[in-house]
Each structure stands twice: as structure tokens, then as C-alpha cells.
């Protein structure tokens, strides 16, 4: 499903592989630093994000577009929403569309979807009703399925999909570790409730653009959207009172074994 359009030729040289893997990660952190000027706790938060920590560093066969999308597009999406200048908006849109032109994604429907449509059609005795009911208008179902797999609360906060991307079906989202920390859910709710900047309408607009591109790009930009959100949340971390910082630090410490453990089943299967 994932078009690994620009796979890096990593195998020959392990050192090069590690550097190439770390590079996007460093770019993301550096850009975040430039944008946020974060406090220490925000740093800790961004550096230990469950979704970022291991996959981007050690899963060396990940597509370059995907790495870049996390590392570059996420800060720019954040910037486009918070600063809202024409230049940042233009730059963000360019970052979305240029890879699109490079990839030239096809509009082919996935096999399971066409199979399902054919199954449903085949169960009708007449063809007219079958064609009327089961046609490409059911594409919404495919869009919704993609949305649920990559951007639903459960996939963001409680079940990462990196194993899925690596085509290890046994571990598909079973481990209860998301791309963001579980308590970020509450922080996000609180942010939405108090209508903090970024302005919700603009946020929704950007989300809608990214989501509409989602089926074309399959998985590439959804992560960027989440990490753009992570940047917003890390800003919230910088403002919480000191007692809560200790609490957050303890939670981060407790959570680390889980992050590490969540990749063990996948790595076992990889071996």
C-alpha cells in the first residue's frame, strides 16, 4: 500500500544508513527549535515522542518522502497555522504539492476495495441496481478507512502503525503505544476547549487539505499533521507550572520501557 518511492540504498554502509536515518530527525528537532525556542521539558517531549524515537532512526528502509514529510513538513504546517503569513502558507503548499508531482501518484483503487465492490455487485441478481448502488461513490468508504487507520484517536494516541507500514500484519496496531503520548489527548482537548491559537477554522482548513490529499499520497502526510500537532502540544508543556513538569517527567520516564518494548515484537518478526 505504501509507495516506497524513494528507497534509500542503505544496505552497503551501515554508518551511512544511520546518518541518513538520523538526518531527518535532526532536521525536525532543529526546525522545531528555531520555531519554538522550547524549554527543556518541551525538548524532552519532542525528542522522546513515541512515534519518532525508534522508527525514524532505526527503521532504515523507510521512504525518504516519509522521513522528509515528518521532519520538514510538520514544522511548516505548524508555522502555516500559527503564523499564518502568505509566505509560510505558500511554502507549505509547495511542500505538499511538489512531492506529489514527483511521485505522480496513480488513482488506482486498492485491491481489497475493488474486490469488495465486485463481491457486492455479484450478489445482486440484476445488474442495474448493483451498478447504481455499488460504484465509485463508495470511495468515501475507502477514504474513511484510511482516515481511521492513520488519523483516528486510537491510531494517534494508542496504536501506532509503523509495523503496518513495514507490512508485519501480526503486530498491526496491537501494541498500545501511539504516535503521541496518551495524556496528550487531554492536553489537546483542553487546547480545543480554551480555543487557543491556532485558530480552529484555519486548523480545520489545513487538516481538510491534508486529508483530501491523503488517499493520493497514502500515509505520507498524515504523520506530518500529527507532529505539527505535537509541536503545538510541546508549546503547552513549556507553560505548565513546575509541579506538573515533574509529573510529566515521571510519566515520560515510566513510558520509555513501553516505547522500547512496542518495537520488540516487530523486530522479532523482522529477524
Amino acid at each position: 500500500m505504501a509507495p516506497n518511492t524513494f528507497p534509500l540504498p542503505l544496505e552497503p554502509d551501515f554508518a551511512t544508513a544511520i546518518i541518513a536515518s538520523l538526518a531527518p530527525y535532526i532536521i525536525f528537532i532543529s526546525l522545531s527549535y528555531l520555531l519554538l525556542k522550547p524549554k527543556f521539558i518541551s525538548w524532552v517531549y519532542l525528542v522522546t515522542l513515541p512515534g519518532l524515537l525508534i522508527p525514524t532512526v532505526f527503521y532504515t528502509d523507510m521512504a525518504l518522502t516519509h522521513r522528509l514529510s515528518i521532519s520538514v513538513l510538520a514544522p511548516f504546517l505548524y508555522l502555516a497555522v500559527t503564523k499564518r503569513t502568505r509566505a509560510t502558507l505558500f511554502l507549505t503548499l509547495a511542500l505538499i504539492f511538489v512531492p506529489l508531482l514527483l511521485i505522480k501518484p496513480g488513482f488506482d483503487l486498492p485491491l481489497w476495495f475493488t474486490n469488495s465492490l465486485n463481491d457486492l455487485r455479484g450478489q445482486h441478481t440484476g445488474t442495474l441496481l448493483a451498478r447504481l448502488l455499488h460504484n465509485k461513490s463508495d470511495l468515501w468508504f475507502y477514504l474513511m478507512n484510511n482516515l481511521s487507520t492513520h488519523l483516528s484517536p486510537v491510531s494517534v494516541f494508542a496504536a501506532h502503525r509503523f509495523a503496518y507500514r513495514l507490512q508485519i500484519p501480526l503486530d498491526m496496531g496491537v501494541f498500545p503505544v501511539g504516535l503521541l503520548y496518551p495524556w496528550d489527548f487531554l492536553i489537546l482537548l483542553s487546547m480545543l476547549r480554551h480555543k487557543l491559537r491556532p485558530h480552529p477554522a484555519v486548523l480545520i482548513l489545513v487538516c481538510l487539505v491534508a486529508l483530501n490529499l491523503h488517499p493520493l499520497l497514502t500515509q505520507i502526510y498524515s504523520q506530518s499533521l500529527i507532529f505539527a500537532l505535537a509541536l503545538g502540544i510541546s508549546r503547552f508543556y513549556a507553560r505548565i507550572p513546575p509541579p506538573f513538569i515533574y509529573l510529566i517527567a515521571i510519566l515520560l520516564f515510566l513510558f520509555t520501557p513501553f516505547i522500547l518494548l512496542s518495537y520488540l515484537p516487530a523486530s522479532n518478526l523482522l529477524l
Binding site: 474513511m144 478507512n145 482516515l147 481511521s148 483516528s152 484517536p153 496491537v174 513501553f258
Partner: protein, 545 residues
């Protein structure tokens, strides 16, 4: 009269959708329906359930100790309509219909006559909620299948209705009404055991002034009422939360979940996680299970068992309703009083389902359905206000399209995809045995069925009891019936080992295509076959001679 015409139309629609062809559609009775029905019929005719227990407080049935209300409420239905499929499904369909009336009145209580947020008044809103519940795919699907969760939804809604009446006019009669409705819900379906105590606690905390004022006004009666609640709680705990009756909770607790046992549990002893590891793992696993109920795929993906999980299917609401749900939620959180009732109702309803195994279960959290419908109605109400004629027409067209799509999935695709999981075929085979079974010494029945493989192990003895019209007194006291076994008469329920059986006798074997080496069996020995609606062979009856 003219004023009530829209409501009458909605109720007529609800009645037709729930009662029309109820005995024939869905095609076959499922195990749960038959489990309740045979035990109820047995109590009606002998005073004992199928295990010989006199007037049981819970039906042991298949070892799941079913709560008693649904079983006992079937008895008047049998007295009225006979021991027919229609009579088996009638009580649930009736309570489903009554819930549509109830939600109309509940919405009347929840919303003021007119307010800033409801400029058109509550009349449109209560009609919308009644209509949306009447057409709800979630409610309709399970209403026609005779699931007791539907009865529970009615009683929980009634309980909340009485509580709201109590808040308006603090009186003991409303509290008593709420008490009896809660008791009926607790005696109907297991989810209420988790939902009601938590919801009531939240409700009392948020409305403590009404309770305190009643207590100050009449302390003696308040103590008497409190004593009644306490005594009932103790009896209920002893009867249904301890001993064998608590078996169901142990069977389905979320630590027994397949994913947890297979992948997560082996890691809880890892050196990476010290002593707190297992607890933290469980908490996170529960968190994941909870969030699964907020996924778009849960609302509009393939969650209702109309098609197989990998197919395009139907969720618990129509796709267009997801938009209305989001709009409704925005308006709901703006109204503090309303959100203090509806949001806990919906969110607490998810708890029973998250504490049990299986993700995205559509029965265990069904108690939250009226809350969801009220939120969607609120969204629909504001859409009706915003949209101009043309936009509204598009919205209604999309809704109608969703209805057609659901009807297509329900009537055309469900029988073809799901009949193998819904006990299809056993009725026809039992009727064949009732006609021709006397010709054979013993009849062996293999409980494994399925199209692509023997995927499902069913409980065929209930179908044979029902369709061969075995009198409960004959079954209960059949000396050939062993403990933990369901054999009776000449019927033996066990996996068929064709090559290990002695075929010089005069026996009949009934099983799926996977029970027999069909290529090596003389076709003349095949006495009867049943085919699924999709055309695949479901069951064979093959004789020795």
C-alpha cells in the same frame, strides 16, 4: 390530531420496520434467541429451565447464565402467539418500538419549549430524535434479531426519563419509577451492571440539590427508599455478581482478549518492565480499547455484522449522521445542563464494552444509543436552521441514499455474507430429521460450519429441540442426556470422524462439507443437503446405507 400527525407517521414507520415479517426476516433464529426461547418455553410448560432448575433467577442455558428478564417476558408472548419465531422476537421488537415513543418524551423533558439555541422550539427536535431512532441501523438491526440489549436500552432510557422528571418535580414516585426501571435493566443485560451505578453516581453529584431538598423535606421516606435500594443491591450482588451467575463477566473480561493474550501478555514479564509493567500494560490496553470507540470506522465502517469485516459495510450510524454528530457535539458542549446528562450517558456507556474482550463491540455499549441519537438530532436541528432549501434537499437526499444502502445490505447482502454465522441451515436439517429421522438408529450432528472452512462451532442441539418439537419435560428428564452434554433421543452432537466410524450400521451423519470426505462417498448416500443463500452447500445429511 393534526398536531400529532408527524409523530403518528414516525410511529407507524417504526412499527412497520420492526414488526413486518419479523418471524421470517432475519431468515434464521440465532443461538441466543433459541437459548432464551427454549428455556422460557421450558419454564412455561414445566416450571423448570432446560437444566431442571425450578424458576431460575438466571438461565444457565449454554453456560453463560443469561439474565432472566428477557426469558420471562417471552412467556406472555408464547401464550399470545404460540411457540413461533415471531413470538420469540416479539418482546424485543415491542420494547424497541416503545423506545421510539420514549425518546420523544425524553427529548421533551431535556429541552425547553424555546430558547436561544432552539429558536424553532423543541417540537422539531423531539420529532427528529424519534425519527432518527426509528430509522437507526444500529437499533433496527438488533431489534429484529431479538437481542435483549434492546430491552435494556428501553429501561435505561426510562430510568433516565424518571430521573429527569424527579429533577423537575422532586417526588418519591419518580424515584420509585427510576428504581424499578433500573432494576429491570439490571435483570436484562450485563452492561447495566457497569453503566447504571456510575451514571447514577454522576447524576446524583451533578443534581445533588434536588436529592438533598427531598431528604430535608421527608427524611423518613428518604431513609426507607435508601434502605430499599441497599437491600436490593445486596440481593442483586449475591444473585448476579458472585458464584456461577458471574461466570459471563469472567468469560469476557478484557484480559482474555485475543490480542492481549497473544502479543501483550507475554511482554508483561519482560525485564524492561518491572513490577508495575503488567498494570501499566493493562491500563494502556484499556485506553486503546476505549479510543477505538471514537474512530470514524466504528461509526460508519463495517461494524454491524451485515457483511464480513473485510467488506464495505454498515456502521452504527449512517455516514451523513457522522457530520451531524460532530455539529451536535459542538452545540451540546455549549449547553452545560444538557451536556451534564447526555455526555456522561454516552461516555459511560462505552465502559462495559471496553472492559470486555473484542474491540468495537456493538451490543455491549448499546445503552448509549439514545444519547448518540439525541446528539445527532441536535446536529440535524441546527442543520435544518442553517441550510437553505437546495442544501437541505442535498442533505435529505444523502440521508435517503444511506437508507437505501442499508436496506440493500440488510436484505440482499446480509443473508449471503452472514448466514453461516447466524445458524442458517439447522432449521431445514432439523425439519428433515423430524420427517425422516425415525429411519435411523442414531443421528450424529457435527457442530462445525462455514463456507471457506469449518470456522464456526455452533450449538445445533437448540435448533433440533425447537424444530423437532421436543417437549421440555422429555428433554430435561431424558436419561440418555449426560451432564455437560446435550445429546437426547437418537441425536448425538459431536465432531464426525468419518473414517473412524462403523458404516455397517444404520446411522445418519449431519455436517458441513468439511465433515465428510465427499469424493469418497457414494452420492446416493446423501439424503439431504441445505444450501446457503449464496449458493454454497451448508450441510449434508449422509446415511451409512
Amino acid at each position: 390530531m393534526k398536531k400529532h400527525l408527524p409523530l403518528i407517521f414516525i410511529l407507524l414507520l417504526a412499527a412497520v420496520l420492526r414488526f413486518y415479517q419479523l418471524g421470517r426476516l432475519p431468515q434464521s433464529l440465532n443461538i441466543d434467541e433459541l437459548g432464551f426461547a427454549y428455556n422460557a418455553y421450558s419454564v412455561m410448560t414445566t416450571g423448570h429451565d432446560e437444566w431442571g432448575n425450578p424458576f431460575p433467577a438466571s438461565f444457565r442455558s449454554l453456560g453463560d447464565f443469561k439474565l432472566p428478564f428477557h426469558g420471562y417476558i417471552m412467556i406472555p408472548s408464547f401464550a399470545l402467539f404460540g411457540f413461533t419465531p415471531f413470538a420469540i422476537r416479539f418482546p424485543v421488537a415491542l420494547f424497541s418500538f416503545l423506545t421510539v415513543i420514549l425518546i420523544y418524551h425524553l427529548t421533551n423533558l431535556l429541552f425547553p419549549l424555546k430558547s436561544k439555541t432552539l429558536p424553532a422550539g423543541r417540537q422539531v427536535l423531539n420529532l427528529t430524535s424519534a425519527l432518527l431512532l426509528a430509522l437507526s441501523p444500529w437499533h433496527l438491526f438488533y431489534s429484529r434479531f431479538g437481542y435483549e440489549a434492546i430491552i435494556q436500552v428501553f429501561f435505561v432510557t426510562l430510568h433516565i426519563y424518571f430521573l429527569l422528571r424527579f429533577i423537575k418535580v422532586p417526588s418519591f414516585r419518580y424515584l420509585l419509577g427510576a428504581f424499578f426501571a433500573a432494576l429491570a435493566a439490571l435483570l436484562t443485560y450485563h452492561s447495566a451492571k457497569v453503566f447504571l451505578p456510575i451514571f447514577d453516581l454522576v447524576f446524583i453529584l451533578t443534581n445533588h440539590q434536588s436529592f438533598l431538598s427531598l431528604f430535608k423535606k421527608n427524611p423518613r421516606r428518604s431513609f426507607a427508599f435508601f434502605g430499599l435500594c441497599l437491600a436490593t443491591a445486596v440481593i442483586y450482588l449475591l444473585l448476579y455478581m458472585t458464584g456461577p451467575a458471574a461466570e459471563r463477566a469472567r468469560m469476557v473480561f478484557f484480559t482474555l482478549d485475543f490480542d492481549y493474550q497473544r502479543i501483550l501478555a507475554p511482554h508483561t514479564g519482560s525485564s524492561l518492565l518491572p513490577d508495575f509493567g503488567p498494570v501499566l500494560m493493562l491500563v494502556l490496553f484499556w485506553w486503546k480499547r476505549l479510543l477505538e470507540y471514537f474512530s470514524p470506522a466504528y461509526f460508519i465502517g463495517t461494524t454491524l455484522p451485515l457483511t464480513s469485516p473485510t467488506q464495505i459495510g454498515q456502521g452504527i450510524i449512517y455516514p451523513i449522521e457522522l457530520l451531524l454528530l460532530i455539529i451536535g457535539l459542538v452545540y451540546l458542549v455549549k449547553d452545560r445542563r444538557l451536556s451534564q446528562i447526555i455526555l456522561p450517558w454516552w461516555l459511560i456507556s462505552l465502559l462495559p464494552a471496553t472492559l470486555a474482550n473484542n474491540s468495537q463491540h456493538t451490543l455491549r455499549n448499546m445503552v448509549g444509543l439514545p444519547a448518540l441519537i439525541i446528539i445527532i438530532s441536535l446536529g440535524a436541528y441546527h442543520c435544518l436552521r442553517w441550510f437553505k432549501y437546495k442544501s437541505l434537499l442535498i442533505l435529505i437526499s444523502l440521508y435517503l441514499l444511506s437508507l437505501v444502502r442499508f436496506a440493500d445490505l440488510y436484505l440482499v447482502h446480509q443473508p449471503q455474507f452472514m448466514s453461516q454465522y447466524q445458524g442458517f441451515g439447522w432449521q431445514q436439517m432439523a425439519e428433515f430429521v423430524a420427517d425422516a429421522g425415525d429411519k435411523y438408529d442414531l443421528i450424529y450432528i457435527d457442530p462445525r460450519v462455514g463456507i471457506s472452512g469449518p470456522e464456526t462451532t455452533t450449538v445445533p442441539y437448540l435448533y433440533f429441540l425447537y424444530y423437532t418439537k421436543v417437549a421440555p419435560k422429555d428433554y430435561i428428564f431424558d436419561t440418555r442426556r449426560k451432564i455437560h452434554d446435550s445429546n437426547f433421543g437418537r441425536l448425538r452432537f459431536e465432531q464426525i470422524n468419518w473414517f473412524g466410524s462403523n458404516h455397517s450400521l444404520n446411522n445418519l451423519y449431519i455436517g458441513s462439507p468439511f465433515s465428510f470426505p465427499l469424493k469418497q462417498i457414494d452420492p446416493e448416500k446423501i439424503r439431504y443437503t441445505v444450501t446457503y443463500p449464496g449458493g454454497q452447500t451448508a450441510l449434508y445429511a449422509i446415511s451409512d446405507k
